[in-house]
Structure formats: structure tokens, C-alpha cells
């Protein structure tokens, strides 16, 4: 088959699409970085994203409450925060095994979001996605404009969150407490930091961002909701946190790489890339993003300098 596209055109669109596709991961990963930097592994991102995805579209859709998408985004964050609160109670106060409770949160979020969808939307629910912001002047720039300045508001917010979260973590009082609590909660406690309060705050914030990630998927990317529409993206987002070595910048890089790999494998199908004379099975092309992620980890030699030493360890005062 022939596609009259130049390589340059393909690459430009691939980059542009990559930015949008990376957005849900970016929200979720940044939220997860906050909770992990304080020492809590929240593996329930997936379930929270689903709740966020549904609530956002429910507020935005004319089949739902028919309010603004922006309100939908906000509502998704609030519901995400509530899910975060629940996981904080379970992980921080009740000191549950964090990996397992995350699976519980995922199942719960999957079940509840589907149930709400059944009860409130019955069938398909659609909403107009956040419109592309055509920024005057910038959007028309060749190449750069097409890649960077024809995205929707949720994309810009997500990427703006990267430097903001780096600043919060490194420069603010709260950020200092987060880093300390994740590295050595006993020391932080002995200095009068309320370890559990800090962890509550980050896990709730992680939930807020996971809710935003869900919204980015439903009213940012697809404009619809379907049961289990995250399809494992929450787990990938957690994986990207490890990939990025707990740095928002590097997690962003990971999200972009992963999304780019995925987009390129779609292109490979469209362009009907063949080995010899036979097409490469789509299943095998579909593996590429996952294989690349693993390989990237192997070759990028992990940096552990930011690894929270107390990750997954519940804090109990006086326990040696």
C-alpha cells in the first residue's frame, strides 16, 4: 500500500500524538512520585484513574450532568482525592501491605466505576473532549507549532506540573518533609514532623492526580467512558515512577518514550512495515513498547539516589 507521507510529516505527527498520549501517564506518575517519595507505594492508581475517568465524563457529558469539562476535571480530582484518602487510611493508619492493598483499590475502583457507569449512564457516555488550544502565533509555527502548540489544556497542565512538582519537592517546607519522611521517617518524627500527616497529604495528592489522569483519558483523549478503559495504564504509570528513578523529569521522559514507542508501532502497522515479504504480526509490534521499557531500564542503569529508603514500610514509632 502506498502512503504519500514524508518521514518528516510522520515524525511530526508522531511527536504531537505522543504528547497527548503521554498526558494521562504524566498525571498519574507525578502523583505517584509524591506518595512514593514520602514512602508509600500506592498501587491502586488504576482504580482511582477509572473513578476519575467516569466522574469527569459524567460531569461533562450531556448524558450526565451536562456541566463544563473543566468542572468534570475538577470533580475527577476530588473523587481521586477521596480514593487517595481511603488508601491513606488503609496504608498509613492500618499499615496494610501496600502492594496488596493497591490491588484491592484497583478492584474496588474498577468495580465501582463500572457500577456507576451502569447505573448512571447505561450504555455509552460521550463528551466533547477538551478542545485543542490554538495559541495564536505559536500554533502556526512550522513543526514546533504542530507538535507543541496544538494540544488541549490538560496536556499543558500536565507538562507544567513537572517543573512545579520538582520545585515543590525541592524548595518547599512540605517538599522537605516529604523527602525526609520517605528516607528516614524516624528521624523526621524525632524532629517533630508528623510522619503520618505528611503521608496522608501525599497519598491524597497522588489520588487527586490519578483522578486527573483518568479525566485526561476520558475527557482529554477519548471523549468516552468504557468499563476498565484504563486497561493497565495505572500500573504502567507506577512502573514509570521506577523508570524515572523518582524524578518527575525522568518520569516525564519515560512517559514520552513509552507513548512514542506505542505510537510508532501503530505507524508501523499503518505503513505496513514488513520483514522480507511478510507483514510483522500486530501482536508482536504491540509488544515493542513493553520490551523497550524493560530494555531502557536495563541499559539506562538505574540511579537510586532518589529512591525513598522507607518505601512500602509503614511507620510505627519506636519500632526498631
Amino acid at each position: 500500500m502506498n502512503n504519500d507521507l514524508t518521514l518528516a510529516q510522520i515524525l511530526i505527527s508522531a511527536f504531537a500524538l505522543t504528547l497527548g498520549a503521554a498526558t494521562p501517564y504524566l498525571y498519574a506518575s507525578i502523583g505517584e512520585i509524591f506518595s512514593q517519595r514520602s514512602g508509600v507505594l500506592n498501587l491502586g492508581v488504576e482504580g482511582t484513574m477509572l473513578m476519575g475517568a467516569f466522574v469527569a465524563i459524567f460531569f461533562a457529558s450531556d448524558k450526565g450532568l451536562q456541566i463544563d469539562p473543566a468542572i468534570g476535571f475538577l470533580a475527577a480530582m476530588i473523587v481521586g482525592g477521596l480514593m487517595g484518602l481511603l488508601s491513606a487510611v488503609i496504608n498509613v493508619t492500618l499499615k496494610a501491605e501496600q502492594g496488596i492493598s493497591g490491588i484491592g483499590m484497583t478492584l474496588f475502583g474498577l468495580g465501582m466505576s463500572s457500577l456507576l457507569f451502569k447505573m448512571l449512564a447505561d450504555g455509552v457516555i460521550t463528551a466533547t473532549v477538551f478542545p485543542k488550544l490554538n495559541i495564536r502565533g505559536l500554533s502556526d509555527l512550522p513543526v514546533v507549532g504542530e507538535i507543541f502548540f496544538q494540544q488541549n489544556a490538560l496536556v499543558y497542565v500536565a507538562f507544567a506540573l513537572v517543573p512545579i512538582s520538582v520545585w515543590i519537592l525541592n524548595k518547599t517546607t512540605w517538599g522537605l518533609q516529604i523527602r525526609a519522611v520517605g528516607q528516614n521517617p524516624k528521624a523526621a518524627d524525632a524532629m517533630g514532623v508528623n510522619v503520618n500527616r505528611v503521608r496522608y497529604s501525599t497519598v491524597i495528592l497522588g489520588g487527586v492526580f490519578a483522578g486527573a489522569a483518568g479525566a485526561a483519558l476520558s475527557i482529554g483523549l477519548t471523549g468516552v467512558f468504557q468499563e476498565n478503559m484504563t486497561a493497565g495504564r495505572g500500573f504502567i504509570a507506577v512502573a514509570l515512577v521506577y523508570f524515572g528513578g523518582w524524578s518527575p523529569w525522568r518520569a516525564m521522559l519515560g512517559a514520552l518514550l513509552f507513548s512514542a514507542a506505542n505510537n510508532l508501532q501503530i505507524w508501523a502497522q499503518i505503513l505496513d512495515v514488513r520483514i522480507g515479504n511478510s507483514p510483522i504480526p500486530s501482536n508482536l509490534l504491540g509488544m515493542i513498547p513493553y520490551i523497550l521499557t524493560i530494555l531502557a531500564l536495563v541499559f539506562a542503569r538505574q540511579r537510586h539516589s532518589l529512591e525513598p529508603a522507607a518505601l512500602t514500610k509503614p511507620f510505627e514509632r519506636g519500632e526498631n
Binding site: 500500500m1 502506498n2 502512503n3 504519500d4 507521507l5 510522520i10 505527527s13 508522531a14 504531537a16 500524538l17 497527548g20 498520549a21 494521562p24 451502569k118 447505561d122 450504555g123 455509552v124 460521550t126 466533547t128 473532549v129 483519558l217 483523549l221 477519548t222 471523549g223 468516552v224 468504557q226 468499563e227 476498565n228 478503559m229 484504563t230 486497561a231 495504564r233 506505542n262 505510537n263 501503530i266 505507524w267 502497522q269 499503518i270 505496513d272 511478510s278 507483514p279 504480526p281 500486530s282 501482536n283 504491540g286
Partner: protein, 309 residues
């Protein structure tokens, strides 16, 4: 020949609101039920989201055990389990699709099989799409390269080739029936590759339809009627109308035949229908589609189920 309602149970891999595979048959059942006079005449029970075949097998056996008259296994993957349990319930009729094998060879007499000649509607959709496209690039958002999705896509490609040899059909598979975001991402890429008309199959396409609506292109649907949801974007949907099959199964049972019949939804037998949305289309498009349909029904056009790679 029995008191009370006929009891039908169905086990399906996705949900009754998936806008595609499961919804198609569930709405067929409900339609037959309405025609027959409601729940007092036909009782429907369903179990949805049975992706796990072992759980599905349990559900099938449970329904048979509970005395349902007809138990429908709405997924090819349920076949092996079905063949295993059917002999234990000779009084129960089972139906299985998409499939052609009623188990006669294996000595089973209480299984109906059904399939849909999805390639036929695919061909017609393809003919229309080929005429509609201005960019001469058409995208196919495929789920998993198998079953009726594959048949549909193969038919679609042939249809486009027939009406517009200039057009390119780009096909992608997402390896998932349900991942709507994957569907959207594939559609985005198709559009970036120049496509102005898209089609696709399974419940993962809803995001793709929504996207092409936003971008101002056209969509062709299959399995269920998708034009109700996106009337200005979905030009036409091939709809699986299972009512005739269901009615015939009921009739067969009433006459004492518990199985052994294989059905195929085709254009000719009216099992494949077309639903149109509110998209204003040129008469020549409709004419071409109608001719193609006639050709297929008359056997003049033979749509291949497999294509060379």
C-alpha cells in the same frame, strides 16, 4: 408445548451495553421478547463480562441445571466447554456463536450454531467508504485479528478496492476488544496519516468514533447500530439482527428439534441489516451500496473471507 414462559439464558464475554458484539444479540433477544408479549412469554437471563472461559462454563452449566430451555454461549471461545456439558442436558437447547459446528459429528443433537457473514456488510461499507473519501486514505481500527472482526475488515478492504481503486486502506490492530484509549490512539494516527473515513469493530471503537466526529470525518459501523449515538458521523452500520435466528430456534424447539441447525446471518436472509444515521449522502453512494448488496445476494459478487498478505 409447555406452560409458562420460554426461558432463555445467555452468557457473553462483554456487557449488554457494549455497542457491539454482546449488545447486538441482547437487543435481539429483547426484541423477540417484546414481540412475543413480554416476560410472561419469554424470560431472559444473562451473565456478562465472562472473559474467563472457566467461569463461563460454570455459568452455562448453571443455567442448564436451573432448567433454562435455551442456553446461548455467545462466544466462540466457549465452544469446548459447551461440547463437554451439552450431553448432560439433552432436554436443553444450546446455541453457540460465532460458529458453524453444531457437534453433529461428535454425536451432539442439542446445539445450534450461528455466525455472521460480516464480510458481506464489510464489503458494502467499503464500497461506500471508497466513494466517500476525499483524501483517498481510509483507516481501520481493528481489535484482535480474528473472528468476525477479521471477516468484516477483509470484506471492507475488498469493497473499497471495488469502488475506489485509488484509495489506500490502512489497518491497525489494538490486540484488545475493550481498550478504548488504544482505539482512540489508533484513530488519531490514522487521521494523521490522512484518513478522513474510518471504520472498526468491537467495543473499543467508541473513542475512535468520538474522535472522528470531532475531527469532522466519517465512520462506518458494524455489529450494532452505532448511528444512534453519533448520527452525524456514522454513515452506516452493519447490524447483526439475530431476531430471525432466535425466533427460528424457538420454533425448532417448539417442533421438537433441540439442535443441529447452523445459521449464518447474511444479506440475503436478512440477518445483516443496515442502519443509517443522519449523514447526508449522495444518491450515487446509496445506489452503489444497493447494487453491491444485490450483487452479493445474487451471488454475483463473491466476497472473500481471507485475503493474501
Amino acid at each position: 408445548a409447555q406452560d409458562g414462559p420460554v426461558r432463555v439464558a445467555i452468557v457473553m464475554p462483554s456487557t449488554i451495553t457494549d455497542l457491539s458484539w454482546s449488545q447486538a444479540i441482547y437487543s435481539g433477544l429483547v426484541e423477540v421478547q417484546t414481540e412475543m408479549g413480554g416476560e410472561s412469554a419469554l424470560e431472559i437471563a444473562y451473565t456478562e463480562n465472562m472473559f474467563d472461559v472457566t467461569a463461563a462454563a460454570q455459568a452455562l452449566r448453571d443455567y442448564a441445571e436451573d432448567g433454562y430451555d435455551i442456553v446461548i454461549a455467545h462466544g466462540t471461545q466457549y465452544g469446548t466447554s459447551l461440547f463437554e456439558l451439552a450431553p448432560d442436558y439433552p432436554e436443553t437447547s444450546f446455541a453457540w456463536g460465532t460458529a458453524t459446528d453444531t457437534g453433529m459429528e461428535a454425536g451432539l443433537t442439542n446445539i445450534f450454531a450461528y455466525e455472521a457473514a460480516a464480510e458481506e456488510g464489510g464489503y458494502i461499507n467499503g464500497v461506500m467508504a471508497g466513494l466517500l473519501t476525499e483524501s483517498n486514505v481510509i483507516g481501520v481500527v481493528g481489535p484482535v485479528k480474528a473472528g468476525d472482526a477479521l471477516l468484516y475488515i477483509n470484506g471492507f478492504i475488498q469493497g473499497v478496492a471495488a469502488s475506489n481503486p485509488e484509495a489506500t486502506v490502512n489497518v491497525t490492530y489494538a490486540d484488545s476488544f475493550s481498550d478504548v484509549a488504544k482505539g482512540t490512539e489508533a484513530a488519531q494516527t490514522h487521521i494523521a496519516a490522512g484518513a478522513d473515513v474510518l471504520t472498526g469493530s468491537s467495543q473499543m471503537v467508541v473513542g475512535a468514533i468520538e474522535l472522528i466526529q470531532t475531527e469532522g470525518g466519517y465512520w462506518f459501523g458494524t455489529q450494532s447500530d452505532q448511528s444512534a449515538q453519533w448520527p452525524t458521523t456514522v454513515v452506516a452500520s452493519q447490524v447483526y439482527d439475530w431476531t430471525a435466528v432466535i425466533e427460528d430456534i424457538l420454533a425448532q424447539r417448539a417442533s421438537g428439534v433441540n439442535g443441529g441447525v447452523a445459521y449464518n446471518l447474511t444479506l440475503e436472509n436478512g440477518g445483516l441489516k443496515f442502519a443509517f444515521g443522519d449523514v447526508v449522502i449522495s444518491p450515487e453512494l446509496l445506489i452503489a451500496a444497493g447494487e453491491a448488496a444485490k450483487g452479493i445476494e445474487a451471488g454475483e459478487i463473491v466476497v472473500q473471507t481471507e485475503l493474501p498478505e
